[in-house]
């Protein structure tokens, strides 16, 4: 007491001006906070801005190659907007009825969901471009057969066709396609999808089941929360209505909106359960500690101001605020509870004068803030847009919380509170822990820990597979897979990207790739692919095919003459047939295809011109897992063709950053150690030791549990670094406060951090769980290790500027 009362008397003049300045700054801060509240109201209530929920938006766009990145995002976006629903039953009439009822429910919100076009072989007019250029369009089989044809063979084929009682199923009359070449070509295109228009709806069969196919286009981003809230109940109702038609009716839904909505619901749910859980926990702990509502109010106020300011700044800086930023970011701001607790735990602050007490604690508080901000900086320099956003959110939030504590708490502080019994209890726990840790068993404990850490670290392995970070409900995965299988849709994440100097070269390069893919299909390495050049062969290919057809079928004295003779037609007929074929010289072009409704479900395959380059995409269907590398190698040696695997590229990116961030973490420790040297001298390492131990033990625990190390664990260790160092700083800085105060503040802060961030270990979202588990172990160990390393500081010779040379 004597030590602290003295400076108040000595510096009374100084303290008056400090108090005045402090009050002015408090008013300025109030103004800023009011502005933040107003800005939030404008953005969230006025503009009704919606939250981003796409997990992929958190990930870096990667790829230095603009064509590849455009290709991947174009394919992904087209996949995101699509919803495919199959309504089926073993009885077609029931299936159709159920499908129609489903459609009627969905049709109620046509602004948000509209029927999409699907490749189901459209009307004659949609196919007009191809019909007009049919002589340049040959299937691979017909081309091969024409090359090796013997005289008379094709005449026989044509006559044979005429015997069939089956309708010809042609566009145009028999005479216009006597060798059925265009019919074959069209059938090959139609084979791309098993969907057929039947009885006024689209139908697909799978074994004994008949399904009505309802392709839908979502008119809002799949990851926009508001769209999800409107659309999902509609799907639930439609499914319900359709299921009531018959017990055997089965509904399969697929589309990015379903997992997106599930993930958002989960995150929302966790936000409220874990979020409220941690707030409740903090309230209870504070109540037990202070037996007063005022500290709770103060702490909630500081966290509230932090969150509101963070939201305002983030919304101002980023057009799209991610849901996870809110969930995770507000947990991070929970760390700011430390500052409030730190202030409230100064049991002698009334004697010293609240403002002066804050000023005295300022160096410690500042160092704590800066180390935490430094750890967030680690997140900000990662290439992950999501983490950058979280880093901004949390940094602003923490700084605002800190300012609130420093500027407002002295004025709002009430009568001195604090339960001596709780403080004593904390101190007793510490004493007992120190007795155990530093007593006779010290050596054994140290060795045991070291051995376990070594074993754990030796067993630690990394796995950066992005798929580990997704957590979809089982039945949802099953439905999505079933729909993909029944409809034979390609898998969007793994594609070939073609780059070329011109439109025609892009088509030619696709054709070169397709030769290899066809042989892989023959080897059963994959089921099929989708490529623009299937619809639009290159000009060269079309001209070659037209020449082949003219030579083999329409030459003078060739097949067409034989056919004419067999059907009793004269020379005039033959001449007319020849003229019809030969007058053509134009070809189908990509713009014909793009302009036709036939391309609607496939337009994402054509990138067109990207800068000075032309690009296109070839998507794959049913790749045999064991043959993935063979398929990927199909691009090898082909100029302008690259294999683009979004999953693989993101996973390897996660891996690269896991390694890079580990080094950044190590460097951060080194930099902070250098920062501490002037203040703590040779004891500087002691401030860092608890966090280092905590990080090693957290990593070793993963190894012992057989869990793979991922980037998100490393990012968790960044926070262990930022927060753990705080504790050590508080313990070191507060050796002049009444005994027990500092440890009490650290213990309280640690408990509330565990309640806010550690609870994330319960999350079903793998990323949050990884963070949470790391924090749980890391913070516990940091807290327990701090008194062991910083104990000696109470009688060290470290200078303490805050106490003004009182030592």
């Amino acid at each position: 007491m004597r030590l602290v009362r003295q400076p108040v008397a000595l510096r009374s003049a100084h303290s008056v001006s400090a108090t005045r300045w402090h009050r002015r700054l408090a008013w300025v801060w109030l103004f800023v906070v009011v502005a933040a509240v107003a800005y939030n109201a404008k953005v969230w209530l006025g503009e009704r801005r919606s939250l981003e929920t796409d997990f992929m938006a958190l990930l870096p766009t990667d790829e230095s190659d603009p064509v590849v990145s455009r290709a991947l995002s174009q394919v992904a976006v087209s996949a995101e907007q699509n919803v495919l629903v199959l309504v089926g039953a073993p009885d077609w009439a029931q299936a159709r009825e159920a499908g129609l009822r489903y459609q009627r429910v969905i049709a109620r919100d046509s602004a948000l969901l509209s029927p999409a076009l699907m490749a189901s072989m459209g009307s004659d007019s949609a196919l007009a471009s191809w019909w007009d250029h049919r002589h340049g369009l040959l299937t691979d089989e017909d081309r091969a057969a024409l090359r090796t044809a013997v005289p008379g063979e094709w005449t026989q084929r044509a006559l044979h066709d005429l015997l069939s009682p089956l309708g010809t199923g042609r566009i145009g009359s028999w005479k216009e396609d006597p060798f059925a070449l265009f019919q074959h070509w069209l059938r090959a295109r139609a084979a791309d999808t098993p969907v057929r228009p039947v009885d006024g709806v689209l139908r697909v069969d799978d074994g004994d089941m008949h399904y009505v196919v309802l392709p839908l286009q979502l008119r809002a981003p799949a990851f926009a929360l508001q769209a999800q809230r409107r659309v999902v109940p509609l799907f639930v109702e439609a499914r319900d209505v359709a299921s009531r038609v018959a017990p055997a009716v089965r509904v399969l839904e697929a589309g990015m909106v379903f997992p997106a909505a599930a993930a958002a619901t989960q995150a929302n749910h966790e936000f409220s359960t874990i979020g409220w859980g941690s707030i409740l926990g903090i309230v209870i702990v504070t109540w037990l500690t202070f037996r007063s509502l005022r500290p709770i109010g103060l702490i909630l106020l500081s966290l509230g101001v932090g969150t509101i300011t963070a939201m305002a700044v983030t919304a101002w800086w980023y057009p799209n605020v991610h849901l996870l930023t809110l969930v995770f970011g507000s947990s991070l701001i929970g760390v700011g509870e430390d500052y409030g607790a730190h202030y409230l735990c100064m049991s002698d602050r009334r004697q010293r004068g609240a403002v002066l007490a804050v000023l005295a604690a300022l160096p410690g508080l500042s160092l704590a803030l800066f180390t935490t901000l430094a750890s967030f900086l680690g997140l900000a320099i990662s290439p992950f847009p999501g983490l950058q956003q979280m880093a901004l959110f949390s940094s602003v939030g923490l700084a605002a919380t800190w300012l609130t504590v420093v500027l407002w708490f002295p004025a709002l502080d009430g009568p001195q509170v604090g339960s001596a019994r709780v403080i004593q209890w904390f101190d007793r726990v510490r004493e007992q822990w120190e007795r155990v840790a530093l007593g006779r068993t010290r050596g054994a404990l140290g060795v045991l820990t070291a051995v376990l850490v070594v074993i754990g670290l030796a067993r630690l392995h990394a796995n950066d597979d992005i798929r580990l970070l997704q957590s979809l409900p089982e039945d949802m995965i099953r439905e999505q897979t079933a729909v993909g299988r029944v409809l034979n849709t390609p898998f969007a994440a793994q594609t070939f990207v073609i780059r070329a100097a011109s439109e025609q070269q892009a088509l030619e390069r696709e054709e070169a790739l397709r030769v290899r893919l066809d042989s892989l299909i023959a080897q059963k390495a994959l089921l099929g692919y989708q490529a623009a050049s299937q619809w639009v062969p290159s000009r060269a290919r079309q001209q070659q095919d037209a020449a082949l057809l003219t030579r083999q079928l329409f030459s003078v004295g060739g097949e067409i003459d034989r056919l004419g003779a067999a059907l009793g037609e004269g020379a005039a007929w033959t001449q007319e047939m020849r003229t019809v074929t030969l007058h053509q010289d134009s070809v189908v072009t990509p713009s014909d295809w793009l302009a036709s409704p036939m391309s609607a479900p496939l337009r994402h395959l054509w990138l067109g011109q990207v800068g000075s380059v032309w690009g296109s995409v070839v998507t794959l269907k049913g790749v045999e897992n064991t043959r993935m590398t063979d398929v990927a190698q199909a691009a090898e040696g082909l100029p302008g063709v690259v294999w683009a695997d979004r999953i693989d590229s993101i996973s390897s990116l996660l891996g690269r950053y896991r390694v890079r961030m580990s080094w950044v973490l190590a460097a951060s420790y080194l930099i902070v150690w250098l920062m501490f040297l002037p203040r703590y001298g040779r004891a500087a390492w002691r401030v860092l030791a608890p966090s280092v131990c905590a990080s090693l033990i957290a990593a070793a625990t993963l190894g012992l549990l057989g869990q793979p190390l991922q980037l998100f664990h490393i990012l968790g260790l960044f926070l262990v670094f930022g927060i753990g160092v705080d504790y050590a700083i508080f313990l070191t800085e507060h050796r002049h406060s009444p005994p027990g105060d500092a440890w009490f503040a650290v213990g309280l802060a640690s408990i509330s951090t565990l309640l806010s961030l550690g609870l994330l270990a319960l999350s079903e979202t793998p990323v949050l769980r990884a963070f949470g588990a790391t924090m749980l172990i890391g913070i516990t160990v940091s807290t327990l290790a701090s008194p062991l390393f910083c104990r000696t500081s109470s009688h060290s010779n470290v200078s303490d500027p805050a106490s003004g040379g009182q030592t």
Partner: protein, 211 residues
């Protein structure tokens, strides 16, 4: 596509539309055998061609198996349609095969056809607009596919007959026309020749089509 066959198989079924009395009467006039064989005479009139293309032969239909279409003139060619595929053969050699897997539309049409075989009348009403007239012991009906894609694949169908379907005319969208007349119809499993039974896969009658 396969509509001529479909129509052959209509026999009893097919042209039902509840409100139309004529359809009910036609339904009553047609016989419903398990198996049936007969002769056909087919005449294709093609746009821009001077002469019609004629062919003739014998056909057999089995209620739960499908149809054999055995052209004898101008040259021999056999077409077999079952639930899963269409095959064409010349002199026991298969010249072409189209399976449901390759062309799902085939499955749809086969399914339609075989449902009709099983007496599922509601089926045609969903896919076709049907108009019919009855004149004494004979009747006429016209089937117009409702779906544009089906109309291209199948065309417009006119049929007429009494106890059996006697004439079928298919008019395709571009104007090509196929006219088939049937004669010498006999019913019962015993009318199938051994090789015809074999073509359906012996023994005949393995599984009933629908309960």
């Amino acid at each position: 596509m396969i509509v001529a066959l479909l129509v052959v198989l209509l026999r009893g079924a097919a042209v039902a539309s509840q409100e139309d009395v004529a359809l009910t009467r036609i339904q009553a006039m047609l016989t419903h055998p398990d198996a049936m064989c007969g002769d056909f005479d087919q005449r294709k009139t093609l746009v821009g061609m001077q002469r019609a293309v004629r062919s003739s032969g014998r056909f057999c239909a089995l209620a739960d198996r499908g149809v054999l279409w055995m052209t004898k003139l101008p040259f021999a060619s056999t077409l077999r349609l079952t639930r899963d595929e269409i095959t064409e053969s010349q002199n026991e050699r298969i010249t072409s095969r189209l399976t449901v897997k390759e062309e799902p539309g085939l499955g749809v049409i086969n399914d339609l056809l075989l449902s009709v075989l099983a007496g599922d009348l509601k089926r045609l009403g969903a896919s076709f607009t049907v108009t019919a007239t009855v004149d004494g012991a004979t009747w006429r009906a016209r089937l117009v596919p409702k779906d544009a894609g089906m109309r291209r694949a199948i065309g417009l169908i006119d049929l007429g007959g009494g106890e059996f379907v006697r004439q079928v005319t298919i008019t395709e969208t571009a104007g090509d026309q196929t006219a088939i007349t049937f004669a010498g119809m006999v019913t019962g499993l015993s009318v199938l020749q051994p090789d015809e039974l074999r073509a359906f896969g012996s023994p005949a009658r393995r599984t009933p089509l629908r309960p």
